[in-house]
Amino acid sequence: MIMKKKYFLNANIIDPQNSIDEVGGLIVDENGLIEAVGKKVNINNIPSREKYIDLKGKYIIPGIVDMKVFVGEPGFEYKENFRTLSEASLSGGVTSVVTMPNTNPIIDNVSIVDFLKRRGRDKAKINIFPTASLTKNIEGTNMTEFGLLRAKGIVGFTDGYKTIQNTRLMSRIMRSAYDLNCLVMQHVEDKELAKDGMVNDGIISTKLGLQGISDLAEKIIIERDLTLLEDFNCRYHISQISSQKSLEVIKSRKESVEFTCGVSINNLSLNENDIGDFRTFLKLSPPLRTEDDRLALIKGINNDLIDVIVSDHKPEDEEQKRLTFAQAATGASGIETLLPLALELYHNESIKLNKIIKALTCNPAKILKINKGNLNIGNEADFCILDINKPWVVKKENLISKSKNTSIEGRKLQGKITNTFVKGEELFKI
């Protein structure tokens, strides 16, 4: 598709992949590709007849790559479909999403991948990168066809919110993934230790009378997997961690094996106290933990022990949340608020802006081996414009996602995406 060239000037451009953090411009060519970017792009580069957009005070960042997103297709379209996910993502500056395979049916065979890609292409305006399950029907017993699925465009393998519990199977998965150069994304939780658990095991679980999940349940699986990796160091990614204890293990193993690690924005921005009087929207997996854990996770990003921040977007309809805490569904909708909530950590000086953007763009892209999350010249122009100081309040009725189960209802945030572009086309404008 041929489009008009677009010129942006005087923006604060942040592109961690290319070490760009400067005031400059961006030119998008007729094919929606990036023609030029950076401080060298100024008014003199622009033909006198062409119009340009002055972005003084605003930021340009690469489109966000969200590595953990649940889309309800197929099977749960009433929670979220590709169209609603796409609209919600664009409003939050997310241009690429990695979708989870725990749909109905489960994404565990080649034929369903074709369906998924077709639906994604027809209904979503953003880039959809589907994952498939590690085991057939997410039962934790038989491996899926990693090689064939990867050839169909599957970027990674995960059993969603389930962990491979069987150690022998996990070791075999790593061998296969090693041979076939596939990415394994593990949800890290020992099933038996965490059984029936709903919240962090501690004073809050004691007070609320809810079954706790020990942070050891997470640590044990991380220790096990990193030990197995010593034998066959496949591409291995810990989907989400939640505790200080996990970080200690990660730190001690960084030298001996290669792996990467993610964290949910929820665990970076909330703690177990926020659950208050049984707020079911804050029933999450992994659970919110203590304030010390939250601070340790922030430090983990600053020390490069954590590579990726995800939204862990899990839309749930109201019926699944208007129940007692024990009965309520797990998870929160969060793709629209991922960046603004992460910016809270910049505004309160917890994490440098460059680091936040890195964890949201080029880091996940590198792990996934996809050419996204950057402003490389010649690459498809997926980017967004950010008004970093714009104040706003999260209200569930204003959310675009089909489900309104936000974990941060009523939170005052600072920073909002004003425009989002995919392949050079402006698809969202405030």
């Binding site: 009378g209 809810l210 208007r322």
Partner: protein, 312 residues
């Protein structure tokens, strides 16, 4: 009919847990309850303070003493009491707690007494109905009227709670009675010892301001009150203990362990008891030491007080 003066206003609309109450709230309830102790012993036990009021007992979990105690309390105050047997109701047809609440709310009750197997169920219910909600036990979280009747029993025998040393022993992790009692006894100035095997001890319990022991003899040392809890086998989804025999040996209340407590120590138990598992059967029936029957008796008075206060 006997003449009982009007209750004083309390800070809360609902009785969901001891955690929400202030000391003055507790004192209002306890002093109101005291008035009913003698009434309950007299020949004419019927009052009309709740005449025309509708009380619904909503029990999602089987209960004998709490449900009958609330039913009797409501009837003695003249309320129209409806007890719902939820084993046969819409819940089994898949209706959610909120829908049940909305349905009942449409019948304009003045008070709903609820027991539910999930922690926080009474909080959820209270957000959805217009009338007052009394929590008659929610999961493992709270059982406020039990703690209030325990306090009333202690005050009745020991004249005070402040300065007493009270041991709560047994299956703490599954016990809403333990949690409510910890809050209430702490508030009223007692020193609380929690005694349980580590598998039945909730995490970070000492942060609630109690001393925790896994050795029963140490935990009972110099105590004025020994409160035993029932082993809640129905809530144990996996192995917590090796056997009842071993539990009785180390954590059952027996005369030799009771010797570590004060000579005039009283034995309490919220019932129903597992005799020979958490308590020696002769000790449970020892009228000089055990106040278990008195707890049941005062339970009616406490529930009358709560119904009267929260109905207004």
């Amino acid at each position: 009919m006997a003449n009982v003066k009007k209750a004083i206003k309390i800070s809360q609309k609902h009785l969901l847990g001891i955690q929400d109450l202030s000391i003055s709230d507790v004192n209002i309830i306890l002093s109101e309850a005291k008035q009913f102790i003698d009434l309950n012993k007299s020949k004419n036990k019927k009052l009309d303070v709740l005449r025309g009021k509708t009380q619904i007992n909503l029990f999602f979990e089987p209960s004998t003493r709490t449900q009958s105690s609330f039913e009797l309390a409501g009837k003695r105050l003249g309320a129209d009491v409806m007890s719902m047997n939820l084993n046969n109701s819409a819940i089994k047809k898949g209706e959610t707690l909120i829908d049940t609440a909305m349905t009942l709310n449409a019948m304009h009750p003045d008070i709903i007494v609820v027991r539910h197997q999930d922690s926080g169920a009474s909080n959820l219910l209270s957000q959805k109905v217009n009338c007052a909600v009394l929590n008659a036990g929610d999961g493992r979280r709270e059982h406020p009227t039990q703690a209030l009747l325990d306090a009333l029993t202690i005050i009745d025998r020991k004249e005070k709670i402040e300065g007493l040393k009270i041991a709560i022993c047994g299956d703490i992790v599954h016990s809403r009675v333990a949690r409510s009692n910890i809050y209430l006894l702490n508030m009223l100035g007692a020193e609380v010892n929690i005694v349980a095997p580590s598998n039945l001890m909730p995490k970070d319990i000492s942060k609630l301001g109690v001393n925790s022991f896994s050795d029963m003899k140490k935990g009972l040392k110099d105590c004025d009150i020994v409160m035993m809890l029932r082993l809640q086998n129905e809530r144990m989804t996996s192995s917590f203990l090796s056997s009842n025999r071993e539990y009785y040996e180390y954590y059952g209340l027996t005369p030799d362990k009771l010797d570590f407590a004060k000579d005039d120590a009283l034995i309490m138990h919220p019932g129903p008891m597992n005799r020979g598992i958490e308590i020696d059967t002769n000790l449970a029936d020892d009228i000089n030491k055990s106040v278990i029957k008195e707890q049941v008796e005062l339970g009616v008075a406490v529930r009358m007080a709560c119904l009267k206060i929260f109905c207004e």
